[in-house]
Symmetry: C2
Subunit: 206 residues, 2 copies
C-alpha cells in the first residue's frame, strides 16, 4: 500500500506551501530584505530549524517565491494578448501591462517600508531573478513579433535576438522608473509611451 507515501508527500507539500505563504506575507509587508527564517518560523509556529527539512535554505525560498510571482504575471500577459488582433496594439498593450504591473509591484515592495536603498535593491532582485525564469516571457514576445506581417518569414535567430533586445529595453526602463521613484506619474507615462513608440518604429523597419 502506498497510500501512506502519498499522504506523506501531500503533508510535505502542505508544509512547504505553508512556509512559502508565510514568507510571501512577510515579504509583502516588510519587503524582501525583511524576510528571515526566524520570522517565517514564528509565523508558522514552528522552530527555525525545521525549515531546513523542507528547503535548502533562505535562498531557495526566495527563489520559489519570485518564480511563482513572475510566472503568475506572465500568464496574465498571455491573457491580454488574446483579446486584440492587430499586432501593434497587441504588442503595445502587452508591453505596457508588463511595465505597469512591474511598477505596481515595485511600489508594493518599496513604499510599505520606509527603509530606503536595501528595498530598492531587493526590488531589483525581484525583476532580476524573475528574468531567470523568463524564457516563457521571451517566447510570448517572440510570437508577438511573428504576428507582424513583415516578420512572418524573418530569420529565427534574428527575431529571437530582437525579442531579447526589446525585452531588455523594457527591463531597463522598469528599473529606471523604479529608481526615480519621485518622477511625476505623467512623466513616467510619457517615458513608457516613448518607449513603445520608438520600439514600434524599430520593429517597423526590421
Amino acid at each position: 500500500m502506498k497510500k501512506r507515501q502519498e499522504r506523506q508527500e501531500r503533508e510535505r507539500d502542505e508544509m512547504r506551501q505553508a512556509i512559502l505563504d508565510a514568507a510571501g506575507r512577510i515579504a509583502a509587508e516588510e519587503g524582501l530584505e525583511g524576510l528571515s527564517i526566524r520570522k517565517i518560523a514564528k509565523h508558522i509556529e514552528y522552530s527555525p530549524g525545521i525549515i531546513y527539512h523542507y528547503f535548502a535554505g533562505k535562498e531557495a525560498i526566495i527563489e520559489q517565491l519570485l518564480e511563482h510571482g513572475y510566472l503568475e504575471m506572465v500568464s496574465d500577459l498571455n491573457a491580454v494578448s488574446a483579446k486584440e488582433t492587430r499586432p501593434e496594439l497587441v504588442f503595445a498593450q502587452t508591453m505596457r501591462r508588463y511595465i505597469e504591473t512591474s511598477l505596481a509591484d515595485g511600489v508594493r515592495y518599496r513604499d510599505i517600508m520606509l527603509n530606503e536603498s536595501p528595498s530598492v535593491l531587493s526590488h531589483t532582485a525581484v525583476l532580476f531573478r524573475g528574468a531567470a525564469s523568463q524564457r516563457e516571457a521571451l517566447n510570448l514576445l517572440f510570437r508577438l513579433l511573428r504576428s507582424f506581417e513583415h516578420l512572418k518569414e524573418k530569420d529565427e535567430d534574428d527575431l529571437e535576438r530582437t525579442a531579447q533586445v526589446i525585452w531588455s529595453g523594457a527591463f531597463g526602463l522598469i528599473l529606471r522608473l523604479t529608481m526615480e521613484k519621485d518622477l511625476p506619474v505623467e512623466q513616467k507615462e510619457r517615458l513608457i509611451h516613448h518607449y513603445l513608440e520608438t520600439t514600434l518604429i524599430m520593429i517597423g523597419h526590421l
Copy 2:
C-alpha cells in the same frame, strides 16, 4: 592659526579614504555581500565602532564605493567618443564600451566567489546605484544623439526621452547578459551587435 584644523581635516579624509580602500579591496575579493563593517575594521586595524565616526553606516560606504566606480567609468566613455567623429560609429563604440566594461566588472564581482545568487544580486546593485548618479551618462548619450545630422533640430524633450529609452535598453541588456552567465562569448557578442544595430535602425528613423 587654523593649520591645525586643516591637518585635522586632512587626517579625517585620509581615514575615510583608508576605509573606502579597504572596503573596495574586500568587495573586489569577496563581492559586495561579503563586505562587512567588522572586516573593514580588521583590515584597517581599528575597532569596528570607529567606522561610525567617519561614515553614517554601511550603506553610506557602499554608496561612495559605487559612485566612485561609476563616475570613473563614465569618464572613460567620454574619452572614447573624442577620437571618432562619425555619429554612428561614436555611438556604437561608446555603447559597446559601456556594455563591455559593465560585463567585465560583473565578472570581477561575481566569478571570484563561488557563491551564487547573492552576488548576482550585488552586481545588479552596482549597476543600479551607479545609475542613480547617471545624469552624466545620460547627458553624454544626449550629446551623441544630437550629433546625428537628422536630429540636430529635434525637440529637446523627445530626444531626452529617446536617450533614456536607449540607455535603459543597454542597461537591461547588461543585466540579461550578466544573468545568463554561461552564454558563449560569441553569442553575447551577437546580442550586443544586434542591440547596436537595431538601436541604430531606430535612431535612423526618428
